[in-house]
Symmetry: C3
Subunit: 135 residues, 3 copies
């Protein structure tokens, strides 16, 4: 089973919690034990597992990546001024693979699934969720 989550983003850099959508997709798949692969389409977005108690860690992720990967200093900026967004996406990574345990994602209490926007706002981002049953 494969489903695409679509998302509208409203910030240039921001984390968007997609845990509820993934929970729902896993539930519909009726897979008890297996894997949910979560993949960000678009080379300026990424997937990160992170805490969602409040916005603080999300803000810190953006702040850290801005410090490590400043904007406006990359060869690619001559094309479309988003060199930093590609680099952030490449470092964080396009995919995370999450266990399915007892019909639910095997996240711990403080783990949520986030789409990371690094070149927004965008009308439509796509995240592909693929469900696999274990042996």
């Amino acid at each position: 089973m494969q489903t695409t989550i679509t998302l509208k983003t409203d910030k240039q850099n921001g984390l968007y919690d997609i845990t509820a959508e993934v929970v729902s997709i896993i539930s519909q798949s009726n897979v008890k034990t297996g894997l949910a692969s979560v993949y960000a389409r678009g080379s300026t977005g990424a997937i990160m597992i992170q805490e969602n108690w409040d916005k603080s860690v999300q803000n810190d992720v953006i702040k850290l990546l801005r410090k490590l990967i400043p904007s406006g200093v990359w060869e690619h900026d001559c094309q479309d001024s988003n060199g930093d967004a590609h680099l952030k996406a490449g470092i964080v990574g396009a995919s995370e693979t999450i266990p399915i345990t007892d019909f639910k994602p095997g996240l711990s209490t403080w783990q949520n699934i986030f789409f990371c926007e690094f070149d927004g706002p965008r009308e439509k981002r796509e995240i592909v969720v693929t469900i696999i049953e274990d042996k």
Copy 2:
């Protein structure tokens, strides 16, 4: 097949080699060709594939992450003083997916599987290993 490895950690920041446990789980699964997904529960831990000839690379990983992501300067620190641990975990990533080849993990000679502790010591860390057979 899905199995949870449990681990006690004794350092604030440290890498713990879980290769032998993953080898054993794959062997028990009796899967000849497929995938082993290794997933760190807890948003202040991560999974890294790395060399284990001696402790040098492990020490260097900790040193690098301390330099790039210092402690005590994050918005999240107002809550529980572990903002750096969340950021390290987010950058390294919660999951790695390793091929199973001939009933064994398809690691190269110098690749081992590590759980990365960024907010220890902890009495109990959980790593979920899910085994999938290929088509």
Copy 3:
């Protein structure tokens, strides 16, 4: 189905586009919907999803990693002078898991699959591609 892509690299640090090889492997598998796991063997190489309009983003990836992870300052350098290569590989990560949609990788227009060489040139690098059908 599992296949190993082999690659000769000609630079110390460089990105090598392996998308065409992965497309071909998926096509041969005859899997309509599922996952392709792409795994870099060798603890000084990694897999990154990134744009391939021209060489600019690839050059920027190398430049960024050289800045964040300089060479010659690591404990591991006493052994074989490639401490930075191990750290780059660990941060970027050995694996990416890509959806298979309609017999093709579910990449967006600007996403390509790259093997990242951080300790070349090498006569032979191995990337293991494992194909899994969804439920």
